[in-house]
Symmetry: C2
Amino acid sequence: MKIVAKRLPLYTGGPDIVVMGKEHAAELDLHPMDRVHVTNPNNQSKSLTAYLHFWHEANPVLGVFANTFDKLEIEDGETVSIFPAPKPSSIAHIINKMNRMQLSEKQIFEIIRDIVDNKLTDLEIASFITSIYMGGTTLDEATYLSKAIAKTGDTLSFDADIIADKHCSGSVPGNRTTPIVVPVIAALGITIPKSSSRSITSPAGTADVMEVFCQVSFDKDEIKKIVSKTNGCIIWGGGLRIAPADSKLISVRKPLKADPEGLLMSSILSKKYAMGATHVILDIPLGLETRYKNIGEARLLERETIMIANRLGMKAKVVITDGDEPIGSGIGPVLEAIDVLKVLRNDDDAPSDLRKKALLVGGKLLELIGLEKFDFEGNGADLMSSVLSSGKAYEKFKQIIEAQKGDPEVTVEQLRKRLSEHTFDIEADSFGMIYDIQNPVVAKVARMAGAPQNSGCGIYFHYKFQDAVSAGDVLATVYCGNPDKLRRTKRTLESNKMIFIK
Amino acid sequence: MKIVAKRLPLYTGGPDIVVMGKEHAAELDLHPMDRVHVTNPNNQSKSLTAYLHFWHEANPVLGVFANTFDKLEIEDGETVSIFPAPKPSSIAHIINKMNRMQLSEKQIFEIIRDIVDNKLTDLEIASFITSIYMGGTTLDEATYLSKAIAKTGDTLSFDADIIADKHCSGSVPGNRTTPIVVPVIAALGITIPKSSSRSITSPAGTADVMEVFCQVSFDKDEIKKIVSKTNGCIIWGGGLRIAPADSKLISVRKPLKADPEGLLMSSILSKKYAMGATHVILDIPLGLETRYKNIGEARLLERETIMIANRLGMKAKVVITDGDEPIGSGIGPVLEAIDVLKVLRNDDDAPSDLRKKALLVGGKLLELIGLEKFDFEGNGADLMSSVLSSGKAYEKFKQIIEAQKGDPEVTVEQLRKRLSEHTFDIEADSFGMIYDIQNPVVAKVARMAGAPQNSGCGIYFHYKFQDAVSAGDVLATVYCGNPDKLRRTKRTLESNKMIFIK
């Protein structure tokens, strides 16, 4: 059916929606919430599958939600084609998986492609995820999933035999090793194009911290230029179309809290595969509040990740780390950027735990690549340490900042000026030793204060795990976005204890 | 947050939706597609959970979809309260089921209640259904499901020790036994308040056929009055709020084609439970195109249904019938009503297969109730036959029609006048015997002709299964809504053969 399209000032942030009169819908035997295929007749490639809503009163035009309108690339008042969307064949594959059949590479690719093309609804994707959760995935299926998630998005390739990459399974505030590891590896002549994420539920993602120094959104060509100049980059993956299926799968997994192992590994490895990685280190923090809580789970993940990575043509290594306490002194984009800069500059007051963690993770990555390449005696962490101490890593970091259009000469003092002025202190209520800093409370407080939207907000810890303190000592300073947030953050701390002393 | 609500001329037919400005949403830390709780401040009981869309441009009001607006019972321009919807606790139960734990009665009730209250999204419901599909249900769980589906809707009770009911698993066009069985049972002094469905994908549901004779939408009190007068009724279940969870579960099951046995049985039994039934007969047609294709499946369903029914305090019996050919001569509301009237009136040209099927199903129901009650020698079918032949069933049918505000004296001739005038005939192309009438094609052709929306449309079979025919004999007449539908129906028959002769 041909019908005049009209842009509606509404958007969903996700699903595409068009609105039709009952009379027109009846002609096509369509019902509310049915899926329809909408095409821009001047550009057949601009077609999409949308959900149908109805006009409550008779209306001859097709209302098109703004997000959908923009994707169609049509003009207001233009005529579009609309017809009932055919049932995607991938639904049959999902039903197969519900019936515990093993899926082929082609079937998995079709499911993921239909997810990316908006042809499957949330409920169908939820069934797919539940079927994987309950039925499990074979190593083959997990490998196919990784490939499909990568190949239905952008992929990059670099002119190098070795492409290094790293990943952290998260949940540890302040764990900002990437901006330290990348310059060291790049300074050693290894290509390391690192795409990072922004925060979703944490006080800062690596992309948020890097954005304190420079730009992080670049297209494929720009990234290639940056990497050809400096060997490395630290960019926001969301600026590319890397593994677009993954964010859709995450949005469905989140409300269910269902993270099937097979999908989780595919989610990680697909992004590395899309970046052309050959050597990948995975940092898995273990703790009471992290995703992995015991060594058995982590070891199982390790074994399976390595096997799937190998099937994808990558060498992988897992390093299991302590995830019970925050890392570094600052939590929040600017405060974490200050920590990173201090470590790279070998400042006296650089947080030693952050440096140590970076040496560990980066060192294991160097060992995976093979230390014999670097003509160095000692282990990977020693090599990391020597490059850091020599100042070569800081030089490389400045090159990367410059290539990413930031100011390479930025100082800690300049960064400090970007901190919020609305602060309050948390004092020790007794004498003793800090025996626990609660990561979930740290994240909650820093976010309530304003991080990461307001980059100058967060928490600075003057004392850390196992430090001895006296009553009245200032344990931490909280930087808040405004007086209202300050009040609310204080109130939150009254019912949520963050730092425990005994 | 208090916000002025404005009615939007849009509706979804299902999910509730409100539209908010980005600025307001940011204050509540809300994102597009988040769930929000909206309350009418003048009537706290009128609150609901809706999905959030965003205004594309700054807009201070809360846009409310028409379907949502009406549920809230607010005025245009009225101020409502809105806040982020708390995560329903039933999600944890769904995750338990995904982890293969057995659910308690309380947990299942909470899941079903949250489905009815629109607190669970399609994706969460899909996960629940998939987890039941893959993990199965124990008899206890299936019993709890049935109870929960019944109790989260309206329930009826009648002043009688025995409440009879029947159900058919469907897919056989023309299988209109209810308007024959109900008057016989009622004439024997047994209470049989029958709620039936309208067609979804078939050419006619029992409620559609009954509507040819009288009204079918009544509220609880009206039904009680009808039944106290006549012992029976044949009404549309959708006019009540019987098992409202069921239609939501069906709308999610449909795209997945996932009908877990546990849910299917609960779906059937919950409605009988809600009607207060004590004795239930289930007609399960077996055929190549029906839901159940082999006797093993049907026997398993039979055993489990009886056990669950017993746990619900009901006696149940299953009768497995032939589902390969249509039943009766007419397909479509008016044509089926004519068949029913002929059987009840003992007309010479009454379709014998429909009469026989009604005797079988009704007879088994009488045997389940106990023939000793009726002081009759012979089996249940014989008793059915004698009541039919005596004219008492027709008398009872007329009483029911009158109680349901129809014309009890309506004749076959009067009904015939309500048939559409746009007809065409299907002729035999060879001499031989009819060895198959394809049910799916029958349903498709009758619907394409206009049934059930246009009650006078459908198919009349002049010859039936195993009849001998000569080339040129008129096998069937198709009644179409208009010349356009006639053309399209003819074209469909060119590529879909309905009647096979050999």
